[in-house]
């Protein structure tokens, strides 16, 4: 599998999915004009991962901000990861880092963790 790297912009996050280190990272802000187009390659990459050789992957989130449309797509990503995890060939662990003063982000992470059945760690930094 190839690495997926999307550089960060003012309104889109950095995406750094590296099959060699087994770390799938997202950081920055997400408020693109068109969420469907922006997240299409991310979801497509996860489809490949599901078909891939298997491994223990870590999805590491360092998002400062995301809008409501992105929030829906992040849920889609987490649900895709849950499918992969429950499929059994790969295991997924989510590590969600947030600024510990940002109670809104902490709550958002908690809400996601309640919705998907994958090991989910929320870390206030």
């Amino acid at each position: 599998m190839e690495k997926l790297f999307i550089a960060k912009t003012e309104d889109t996050p950095e995406v750094d999915f590296n099959p060699e280190t087994a770390e799938l990272k997202m950081s920055g802000r997400s408020l693109p004009e068109d969420v469907t187009t922006f997240y299409a390659p991310v979801l497509a990459w996860l489809d490949e991962l599901e078909e891939g050789p298997g491994g223990a992957y870590k999805f590491i989130v360092n998002l400062e901000y995301f809008n409501t449309a992105s929030s829906k797509l992040i849920l889609d990503i987490l649900m895709r990861l849950e499918d992969i995890h429950s499929g059994g060939s790969s295991s997924i662990e989510v590590v969600w880092n947030y600024d510990k003063r940002d109670t809104d982000m902490e709550e958002a992470a908690e809400e996601y963790s309640e919705l998907v059945e994958v090991p989910f760690t929320i870390v206030g930094i």
Binding site: E10, D11, T36, S71, D104
Partner: protein, 185 residues
């Protein structure tokens, strides 16, 4: 009255009555949204307000501005009245105000959505958001249908709205105001 005069009159009235920090009227697109966010962030930095308040402001501004970007276009041949965005500083609150033409057929549904979130407490909003997101589909214009719920949650205040007559048979002017406490509870 021409569209220009009408818009200017509204802006003038707002600037006189309120302590407006930023006023924009015109077409909305993603570049303009980014510029306004960046300008507003600068203004908020200068007030020395808490980072969390800034974050909440940013949050509410994005939803309100992107709502206009996605829903601003009218089928009228000429835009009767332009959308606008105003940032106001009051004694205890920062207020984000937007205005845009709304088709008369959409007024009931929009009013109902806002009234619904205004009738909910924080726990109810949280649950409502969770359910709505699970059922949401990204629309043709790229929205998730979660904006009002999120604005109500993040602002921690009721959303004020009003509908005003403009010189059009099919459209009225819809204004929306969110308030964010300068000092969080």
């Amino acid at each position: 009255m021409t569209a220009m005069e009408s818009t200017l009159q509204q802006i003038h009235a707002i600037m006189n009555q309120e302590n407006a920090v930023l006023v924009y009227s015109g077409e909305f697109n993603q570049d303009i949204v980014k510029s306004m966010l960046s300008y507003a962030e600068g203004k908020l930095d200068a007030t020395g307000v808490d980072d969390l308040v800034k974050k909440k402001m940013f949050n509410v501004m994005v939803e309100m501005l992107q709502n206009i970007t996605k829903h601003q276009f009218t089928t009228d041949e000429e835009q009767v009245v332009q959308p606008c965005f105003v940032l106001i500083e009051e004694d205890d609150y920062f207020c984000v105000v937007t205005g845009n033409p709304i088709h008369v057929d959409k007024i009931d549904i929009v009013s109902e959505r806002i009234n619904t979130v205004n009738g909910m407490n924080a726990d109810q909003l949280k649950e409502y958001y969770k359910q709505a997101r699970l059922n949401s589909r990204i629309s043709d214009v790229g929205g998730a249908g979660l904006g009002f719920i999120d604005m109500a949650r993040k602002s921690e205040n009721r959303l004020d709205f009003g509908v005003y007559d403009i010189d059009s048979a099919d459209y009225k002017y819809f204004s929306l105001k969110a308030r964010i406490n300068k000092v969080l509870a």
